[in-house]
């Protein structure tokens, strides 16, 4: 079992990068040292007993020197509280949790598909893949151009970047997965990593299966304990003709796309 810490992390910065999207940088040596792309931290969003449940956030980026970032959108009370957190505040974190993305030593051409806030764990993965000199192509989808996070950075960093917005304000108008088949034909990826709404992940699983390309998806579930004990966050996967139950927190959050029994 990889190292998991129950620790206090100091806030270094909390930057609003779009209307309701924040990038929060923490300092904690142990969590920063042990974390890998695809893992998450389970955060207590308020002091005292304001919130019973922690909220899980993918680790967005490792900055070096003991700091790391999460990226989040304000969707409820917990994230609203987090948006008001100031530098020098301290929060209670458990992490890093989860299996993380598996990086295949042999794969050179790697395709990442991001829908909305799915970009959060994928930036950490991009950093890792580029440091290993892989050829990376990114499909970046969002509701509108304001929410196309990292479009400029990715254009500079990766081999190919294709964009889609729901409202057509930039790139293809429609779901980012619309661009997947032609990207596969053109880029010939040996591995696909995806994160985003579950409907998007299900479509990717189908297309990857048709082209016989291994794909890993990062799932999301409401969590209570976050450490594998309470069985709140389950999903079903196929294993040798049977369906078995897995915990998204520690058996995941990354799974082989072909194994998942989709709820939708």
């Amino acid at each position: 079992m990889s190292n998991i810490h129950n620790a206090s992390a100091k806030v270094i910065s909390n930057e609003q990068i779009a209307a309701d999207i924040y990038r929060l940088k923490f300092y904690n040596m142990k969590i920063a040292a042990d974390c890998k792309p695809g893992q998450f931290v389970h955060i207590q969003c308020g002091r005292g007993r304001n919130f019973i449940l922690r909220r899980p956030f993918s680790i967005h980026r490792k900055n070096g020197g003991g700091s790391f970032e999460i990226l989040f959108q304000v969707v409820g009370e917990g994230t609203k509280a987090l948006s008001n957190i100031k530098p020098r505040d301290e929060l209670s974190l458990i992490g890093p949790i989860g299996n993380g993305f598996k990086i295949d030593d042999e794969a050179r051409n790697i395709l990442l598909v991001s829908g909305g806030l799915g970009i959060a764990p994928l930036i950490f993965l991009v950093d890792e893949l580029l440091s290993e000199k892989r050829r990376v192509c990114v499909l970046l989808g969002a509701a509108n151009r304001e929410r196309l996070l990292y479009a400029i950075d990715l254009k500079r960093l990766v081999r190919k970047l294709h964009i889609a917005t729901d409202d057509g304000s930039q790139g293809h108008q429609g779901p980012i997965v619309d661009l997947l088949p032609e990207t596969i034909e053109e880029f010939e990826p040996e591995m696909i990593y995806a994160c985003g709404p579950e409907g998007m992940l299900k479509r990717i699983a189908g297309i990857a299966g048709e082209y016989n390309i291994p794909a890993q998806v990062c799932l999301e579930r409401r969590m209570a304990c976050g450490v594998g004990a309470c069985l709140s966050c389950v999903c079903k996967v196929k294993q040798e003709e049977k369906e078995i139950i897995k915990r998204v927190c520690i058996d995941g959050p990354v799974f082989k796309a072909e194994d998942i029994v989709w709820e939708t």
């Binding site: 810490h5 129950n6 007993r49 019973i52 922690r54 409401r222 969590m223 304990c225 450490v227 309470c230």
Partner: protein, 291 residues
């Protein structure tokens, strides 16, 4: 028991996942997640939702069944020396008795907690714990199949637990524990759908503590067997309320989600409290509420 702090069933798995955060040997007792005769896959997601000062859960008693529990969890649990209490659930009296029979041959089980907040499928789904006859029948039948001490875990979804508590005491129960979760429901007003896949669920956490304290008080006055109190305890101060109304021990559940080391903190805080106030042991304050 080294101390009167236990884990509440369902919040701690079999303890494995808490090893990075908790010294299991420091627990007064480890109460594991409910085991049933057969494997259960549990309810559809979402299985959890936050409510003011609490959570609603409808996990659905997911577990691998008693045989796999004995084969896979018992070896792990035997490597520790804290008392082990196995929580048992069932759909019929026979199922409870059969699981107890299987545990009888297992070494290292200090107690069995009978989770009677389960629907009796043979009686239209009424909770075993809501009917004195059904509750006592479980105790009587389980006493036939095991000598392991039996703790009956009572449900709060009932008007007066002191009657059931007395009845199960008469039937031979060695202790009672309470409260289990309160039945509740929450709706997502954006989608008009219930927040839980199972529609209703059990409420736990600080919100239920006053209900638990009151019920422990009532039951402790009604029986002479030990009473284990639980329901929304997140600090030693909360636990002390339960000791004062008569609990001999307490269990910590939802608080483990706030802080996985909650049990350890509470053991230490309780020690500090006793030292500060000049009490040599928790026994000096049990039942000392001035009411």
């Amino acid at each position: 028991m080294k101390n009167p702090i236990m884990t509440a069933s369902g919040t701690f798995g079999s303890g494995r996942e808490y090893v990075p955060f908790v010294n299991l040997n420091k627990l007064g007792a480890l109460v594991v997640k409910s085991v049933t005769l057969n494997e259960r896959s549990g309810n559809s997601c979402p299985r959890i939702c936050e409510t003011p000062s609490g959570i609603l859960n409808s996990i659905g008693l997911q577990n691998s069944g008693i045989e796999r529990f004995i084969a896979e969890e018992i070896p792990f649990l035997s490597s520790f020396d804290m008392p082990l209490i196995v929580n048992v659930a069932g759909e019929s009296v026979e199922e409870y008795a059969r699981v107890c029979a299987l545990l009888e041959d297992v070494r290292g089980v200090s107690g069995i907690e009978l989770n009677i907040s389960c629907p009796n499928v043979k009686k239209g789904g009424m909770l075993f714990g809501q009917d004195p006859k059904m509750a006592t029948e479980i105790v009587v039948e389980c006493k036939k199949t095991t000598k392991i001490p039996l703790i009956v875990k009572l449900t709060p979804n009932i008007a007066d637990n002191s009657i059931i508590a007395r009845e199960v005491e008469n039937a031979g129960a060695d202790a009672v524990s309470l409260i289990n979760t309160l039945m509740g429901m929450a709706i997502d007003i954006e989608t008009f759908k219930p927040m839980l896949g199972n529609i209703t669920g059990g409420l736990s956490g600080p919100a239920i503590r006053p209900v638990a304290v009151r019920m422990v008080w009532e039951v402790a006055k009604a029986v002479s067997i030990p009473v284990i109190g639980m329901g929304g305890i997140s600090s030693a101060r909360d636990a002390i309320e339960f000791f004062l109304v008569g609990a001999q021990a307490v269990a910590i559940g939802t608080a483990n989600f706030i802080d996985p080391a909650a049990t350890m903190n509470i053991v230490d805080e309780l020690d500090s409290f006793l030292n500060e106030k000049g009490f040599k042991s928790i026994k000096e304050i049990i039942g000392q509420v001035k009411a």
